[in-house]
């Protein structure tokens, strides 16, 4: 009996600690970066995620099915929204750096982070993935990554039940990696959630939520550009 209690306790501790994901704290770009000579920055963007309705908290299979069925009209609408000039963000960011006198190379191929090897060494601000390969293939000293992870609508659930009204979401991060050391010289997490302050239930076109999505999109784009604006 005691062994069973111990096993349940252990399982609970493992489960609870597993829930807490670590998120990297922001790193502000050191002013010294702009003074560095002979630096060349490659700008790359991960594949833009498809517009989606994210339903975190609906974890069991039946819960997922119930939540997706409850939000099916919203999902159909979200798929029709436009991301406008979002794919041009790396060019916009590159132009911003060029104006500051930085040598820039825009890498056209989308970055697949899952295909990069893990970085073997531990150091302060070291990236988890090994970006050093870009040093050789693109002849650059730094890599500026725009990594988008969530785009569309976001609604939290507790099993079968929504715990919050949907919001427009734009999430990801943008970071600058020193390819000599594979460490972050800057890291800006992006988590933009925009709500509807009155009625969001307006099918089939959901104008309030659509506006919230475009608010999130514009705020997210502005956050990306502001990280290197100074």
């Amino acid at each position: 009996m005691n062994l069973r209690i111990l096993l349940v306790l252990l399982a609970t501790i493992v489960f609870v600690s597993g829930c807490a994901t670590t998120s990297r704290t922001p790193i502000v770009l050191n002013e010294g970066f702009w003074q560095q000579e002979e630096k060349k920055v490659g700008v790359v963007m991960t594949t833009i995620p498809e517009l989606n309705v994210y339903l975190p908290g609906a974890n069991c299979l039946l819960c997922i099915a119930a939540a997706e069925a409850a939000n099916s009209k919203l999902s159909a609408h979200v798929a029709r929204l436009s991301i406008e000039d979002l794919p041009k963000m790396k060019e916009l960011l590159a132009n911003q750096l060029i104006e500051k006198g930085v040598h820039v190379s825009v890498i056209k191929q989308p970055l697949e982070l899952s295909e990069l090897p893990k970085y073997k060494y531990s150091a302060e601000n070291a990236a988890k993935k090994d970006f050093t390969g870009f040093n050789k293939t693109n002849k650059i000293t730094h890599l500026l990554v725009i990594d988008l992870t969530m785009l569309g609508m976001h609604r939290t659930y507790s099993s079968y039940i929504p715990t919050r009204d949907p919001k427009g979401v734009f999430a990801g991060s943008t970071y600058l990696v020193n390819l000599d050391t594979n460490t972050y010289e800057s890291y800006t997490p992006i988590k933009v959630f925009k709500s509807v302050d009155d009625n969001w239930k307006e099918p089939p076109n959901y104008p309030g939520l659509t506006n919230a999505f475009y608010q999130a999109l514009e705020t997210g784009k502005a956050t990306i550009l502001s990280a290197f604006a100074k």
């Binding site: 079968y160 039940i161 506006n211």
Partner: protein, 287 residues
């Protein structure tokens, strides 16, 4: 089971109070009016105008936890899921009500000045201003001889930084002979013009709140001018949909819509809902 029912009812009762911003589904103008048509502006019978705090729900968090439901029988399981749903809804509403209550505290220092702004004065000055500047025949004293009755329910919302006021004016229009048949319905939002004074409270309260009263009148007049133009179908509606930006509460804000009018101080857009929103042009570049 009794325990579940008790939770259900207590949550249901506490969850009834919701705090929502004014909302209305628009009805496009279905009337052909002559250029010399007579409008009657009907305002709420309340003596004083309504001011509230402007609230944002962007930072409202929702729990993402797993729930274990009792599954003795299917009935117990479904009762537990329904109870959970009612409790979650109640929590959401309580959270929103708390935010609104907190936002409303911003109004407290202004109560005395607000009490001097009377709805009848607001309407009378609007009528005077519109008669002078826009040649609109609009009145507040005789409903019988008017072609159209324009009923207005304004609410002024003050932002947390106290520098911006947003007017939300619900408009319902009907002809005097068929009051039950609504021929136009819409929400008109007007954001106050920016000012450079650092201390917003001193600015608004100067001269017994004269600037607060004047800004309220100007915003209200702007909303009624937009309504009249929209009822007459004279607003431009052919521009391309895009995202407009402006500054509110010290932040860059965005609104998706189409440009319908532009003057020296302001632009007006038709939002995705069909509402009209007037934004100061100055706020594009400065707060």
């Amino acid at each position: 089971m009794r325990f579940i029912l008790a939770i259900f009812f207590s949550a249901y009762i506490s969850g009834c109070s919701t705090s929502r911003s004014p909302y209305i589904t628009p009805i496009k103008s279905q009337i052909n009016l002559q250029s010399d048509s007579d409008f009657y502006l009907k305002i709420p019978s309340d003596i004083h105008v309504t001011f509230r705090g402007l609230v944002s729900y962007d930072d409202v968090e929702g729990g993402q936890y797993n729930m274990l439901y009792p599954g003795d029988t299917a009935a117990v399981f479904f009762a537990a899921v329904i109870t959970h749903s009612v409790v979650a809804e109640s929590v959401k509403n309580t959270q929103k009500q708390k935010l609104q209550d907190l936002a409303d505290e911003i109004i407290l220092p202004y109560q005395s000045s607000i009490s001097r702004i009377k709805t009848q004065d607001l309407a009378n000055r609007t009528v005077q201003q519109l008669r002078q500047t826009r040649a609109i025949c609009i009145q507040t004293n005789s409903m019988e001889n008017s072609d159209l009755i324009v009923e207005s329910r304004p609410v002024f919302l003050m932002a947390k930084n106290e520098k911006n006021i947003l007017l939300k004016n619900i408009i319902i229009a009907y002809s005097s002979d068929k009051p039950s048949q609504v021929v136009y319905r819409n929400m008109i939002e007007v954001l106050s013009l920016p000012f450079s004074a650092r201390n917003a409270q001193s600015y608004w309260l100067e001269g017994n709140g004269a600037k607060l009263a004047r800004a309220s009148e100007e915003m209200y007049a702007e909303s009624i001018a937009l309504v009249i133009a929209d009822i007459k179908n004279t607003l431009a509606d052919s521009s391309k949909e895009k995202t407009f930006h402006y500054f509110q509460d010290g932040q860059k804000m965005y609104e998706r819509g189409r440009l319908v009018s532009e003057n020296n101080d302001r632009i007006a857009i038709r939002t995705l809902r069909g509402w009209l929103k007037s934004i100061p042009i100055q706020s594009k570049s400065k707060n």
